[in-house]
Amino acid sequence: MNKVTQIEGKAVPVEGNDIDTDRIIPARYLKEITFTNMGNYPFYDERFDAEGKPKGHPFDLPQFQGAHLLFVNQNFGCGSSREHAPQSLMRWGVRAIIGESFAEIFAGNCTMLGIPTATVNHGEMMKLQTLVKEKPETKFMLDLEKKTLLSEGKEYLKFDIHESKRNALVNGTWDSTGLLLGNAGKTAEVAKKLPYVAGF
């Protein structure tokens, strides 16, 4: 399992609070039975008009192509539990998300894919989004071990991240199946003690 410690790259801003997972990926794309094509769909209805022409969403602007960091505001990823949302962002190129806050299920899904969801306060995010709009070529480095975001090699700010999520990423145990399987014996013991599992 890969350890996720440092993520480098340009950043793309997507502004607005309460951007739900229906907006990140419309439900019609959930009918595909693999995640393979999800990279084609993030923010689809906000990016393209009825003829399929780009409307100028940050994901289509030339200066943000190849970005690996995504800067968002409050309660990003609220609503549906669809993992297709972080899958679509990841397959588009997003490797880390910094936001003011994240919806619980979305953040959990990101961790399962090795994508850190780091948080900063409102003022800091306004600064970050302004910076990246004015200087989209800025090179960032998100350092999970030091909980620091670097801009052009210099410390720019400290961020927060849920400690267990950070541990899972830094130690390379974010793909949890192996960890959980290792406790199969203990799992059976817990199950045995639950009256409803035993049928009362």
Binding site: R23, N75, S80, N167, A168, F200
Partner: protein, 470 residues
């Protein structure tokens, strides 16, 4: 830190281990699966050569993509047919019980779990769907999860989870006539916001919840997630036990007393400690209608829409987007807003009591000529019961279409969709942009009785005014 709550008790009894990450490995007592979020998870465990660890604690149905007009196979939609084929193949291959069309128990996963008595107090429950919080109505911890987590539950019957804080939400007093559980849950979301519940489990209590039926409690818990709380629950009581008695998977008579004793033991202690407590007065709650693009953007049906200046600076962008998308203006009344579509159904309000309430309003009246109205029962059982009571006739005589069970226009993964700029009165749970199948479509959430009233008037109406004539 919370202490002695149902959350603490159920969590503690299901912890397998503290993981090196600091997360907890939690045993999942019941895993519910459906066609949309499971195919990739089954592929992942097959790839690793793993089996379903506890197939007898796993149950499957189909709900999200199923057409509600003709369910003849193959479905007209090739992608839906492919998805249906995938779950049929997977449940067979991995030995998972499957409630399909032929079972008589097919339906929305959060409706059939309780209906069959699968959902019982003191359980941990997981499902690849955010509205899994519904099952909290029985005093369970029920988590909505993503597909990779579905893989974990399939392979290990466990999840790696972080603990939550617990907020007690009291609603005391008596609800006014015409005010329903849907209005209670929308009111709580309006007051605490769509982000207010992040990091919390919501424990709902107080005299209003004590007096609620199980179906009403399910409606409230269903929308905990819309307030940002992944988990919402009500402590189990006699109402819970009475509901469960005699259901397909409920404990049998010889085990009943033991089961009830256990169920009582998981309820929050009288002196339980919460991380936060919020109190609301039932008398303040009116029939509620959403006007925006998040479930907290709502008003009482007789209120005017809020001025943008009433919101904090960082909310203004979302509020302005909401007004633009909805084509509504601050200061205008929500009552009287014309509608094109009326949808009654979903895991929030697709149960028999919801249909009864809507039918009371529809009886002897006609749907406005300008409105396309339809009723989608939440399950085959709900549909059968409604037909036994003649509700289908009441609806069809009024001009509603009567459909087969499924999620339908709550998320529009099947052919039921808004077209273009159409605006709906909907008994579902999300008014997000594009949610009902058209990227420009618009949604107003309200109770099923209020949807029926809007269908008849052709515009948002106060259901209490129609009830006067009953």
């Amino acid at each position: 830190m919370s202490k002695g709550t149902l959350y603490n008790k159920v969590w503690d009894s299901h912890v397998v281990d503290k993981l090196p990450t600091g997360q907890y490995q939690l045993f999942i007592g019941l895993h519910l699966i459906h066609e949309v979020t499971s195919p990739q998870a089954f592929d992942m465990i097959a790839e690793k050569g793993l089996k379903v660890a506890y197939p007898n604690r796993t149950f499957a149905t189909v709900d999200h993509i199923v057409p509600t007009k003709s369910q003849a196979r193959p479905f007209q939609d090739n992608e839906a047919e492919l998805m249906m084929g995938a779950i049929e193949k997977n449940v067979k291959k991995f030995g998972v019980p499957f409630y399909d069309f032929n079972s008589g128990n097919q339906g929305i996963v959060h409706i059939i779990g309780p209906e069959m008595g699968l959902t019982q107090p003191g359980m941990t429950i997981a499902c690849g769907d955010s509205h899994t919080s519904t099952h909290g109505a029985f005093g369970t911890l029920a988590f909505g999860i993503g597909t990779t987590q579905v893989r974990d539950v399939l392979a290990t019957q466990c999840l790696a989870m972080d603990a939550l804080k617990v907020r007690r939400i009291n609603v005391n007093g008596k609800l006014k006539p015409g005010v329903t559980a849907k209005d209670v849950t929308l009111y709580i979301i309006q007051k605490l916001g769509v982000k207010g519940g992040i990091g919390y489990a919501y424990e709902y209590g107080g005299s209003v919840f004590d007096a609620m039926t199980m179906e009403e409690r399910m409606t409230v818990c269903n929308m905990a997630i819309e307030g940002g709380a992944r988990v919402g629950y009500v402590n189990p009581d006699q109402t819970t036990f009475d509901y469960l008695k005699g259901r397909k998977y409920s404990p049998t008579a010889d085990k009943w007393d033991k089961a009830v004793a256990y169920w009582k033991s998981v309820a929050s202690d009288k002196d339980a400690v919460f991380d936060d407590v919020v109190n609301f007065d039932a008398a303040d709650i009116e029939p509620i209608v959403t006007w925006g693009i998040t479930p907290d953007q709502s008003v009482g049906v007789n209120d005017k829409l809020p001025e943008v200046s009433r919101f904090s600076a960082d909310e203004v962008k979302t509020v302005e987007l909401a007004y633009k998308h909805m084509d509504l203006k601050p200061g205008q009344s929500i009552k009287g807003t014309p509608i094109n579509v009326a949808f009654i159904g979903s895991c929030t309000n697709g149960r028999i009591s919801d249909l009864r309430e809507a039918a009371k309003v529809a009886k002897g009246r006609k749907v406005s000529k300008s409105v396309r109205a339809f009723v989608v029962p939440g399950s085959q059982q709900v549909k059968a019961q409604a037909e036994k009571e003649g509700l289908d006739k009441i609806f069809t005589e009024a001009g509603f279409e009567w459909r087969q069970a499924g999620c339908s226009m709550c998320l529009a993964m099947n052919p039921d969709k808004l077209q273009g700029r159409e605006i709906s009165a909907s008994s579902s749970n999300r008014n997000f942009i594009g949610r009902q199948g058209s990227k420009d479509g618009r949604t107003m959430l309200m109770s099923p009785a209020m949807v029926a009233a809007a269908a008849i008037e052709g515009r948002v109406a106060d259901v209490r005014e129609l009830m006067k004539n009953l």
